[in-house]
Amino acid sequence: MKQKYSFKGALISNLVPIVFLAFAAFAVPMSGLSIQYLLEEMITRLARDSLLVLSLIIPVLAGMGLNFGMVLGAMAGQIGLVLVVDWGIGGMPALLVAALVGTPISIGLGYFCGYILNLAKGREMVTSYIIGFFMNGAYQFLLLYCMGSIIPISNPELLLSRGYGIRNSMDLPNIRQVLDRLVSVNIFGMNIPIVTFAVIAAFCVFIVWFKGTKIGQDMRAVGRNRAVANGAGIPVEKTRIMAIIISTLIACYGQIVSLQNLGTINTYNSHEQVGIFSIAALLVGGATAENASIVNVFLGVFLFHLMFVVSPMAGKNLLGDAQLGEYFRVFVSYGIIAVSLLLHAWKKRHEMLERRLLENSVKE
């Protein structure tokens, strides 16, 4: 007996993307930005942030909710880039070396985060949120106090005036847009970074392939029902830690691709926003804490960044105050997460009650 496809059910489960489409339809003309400019902006942002949002899929698959701990991966990526800039490496080798340096750090941080999340089962999201903050403290300690003093940094421009500690913002010489300009095709006026999209596509293929492996299936089992998975002999704790390690790794590479596109790092807060915006984007794409797909990622990044670009202009034209638009987009990004979490929690409880009613009535 197939679940009858109820329009109402579909409407509720995709409410957030629908609300966003309506908002975009209203705000885009209001902002007065040309379609051409918007499309171009969307392509750069898709190239820049898709990989970061993609890193959230595996923890959701393994039932660990939206993993704010991806911020740890972003930190690892940044550490890799800082060292690469200090060693004076440029071009594609710079990205690869940064990734190589970032990999062991991400695995370590991922293991640490996964281990702690296992201690706080049922409260993974808020715990990963706090881990993000906690590691930010350690990150600052490393970059502000160890680099330049204990860890040798040869390039003086990177350091603060006091002689040690990395500066707050740093541009990436010979790295800016390296990946994007490797091969870029110009279609009616917009250049599309083919290689970056190829890298993103490769990771999408990896995730689809990964779901088909034994550990991928174990993760799905652990995500859906931990007790039964455990009963069947699946090492639940190890599987969950592996999910977090993979997520942290992808986030590390995602941050490297993203910063390469931006061309500059603001060392002490670019990784913080990454967590909030990636999760907001994923939720805008219609994902929930229980299931997220690759479609949610791209739809989410497109819609979220469309809102992000359009709202300050819309705010300016509508209410004559760009600052209002600024705050509006911060409000919307936090608001989405609150609304979709609420909606999802309410739906989950509603379904549970319904299932119990169904179960009992079936036995009539």
Binding site: V84, W87, G88, I89, G90, G91, M92, P93, A94, L96, V97, L100, V101, S154, P173, N174
Partner: protein, 127 residues
Amino acid sequence: MNVKLRRNLLRVALCLIAVAGGFLLSLVGMYHSIILDNSEFSSAGAVLPPLEGLRVLSEAEPVEMSPDDRILVSTKGPSTTLVFEITSPETQQSREISYTLHMGFKKQFFLSVPAIVGGGKNPFLVE
């Protein structure tokens, strides 16, 4: 050689390859800055005057250098060849001397052009 041992050996080998690859990549991707100096150079008794009509051809486009001039050339990769074309003012003939420099991991170089052109063994002004 059971399976477990074989796999662990393979993993160690891969890590070593990755580290070696890292070094190789940084070697290939490293940017170096070479400062060329065209002022009088004296070493071991011989005094070499600055050169006239000097042009330096490197990866970037050619650059004229007048006497007592100093320019900076930025190059990428483990080694590079610099070509110095000197046209003597009287005979309008130009002769070329090429000089290959192996930079390795060193980032800064300070070279005297007269020393290179004069065929001196040690053109490095600052070690």
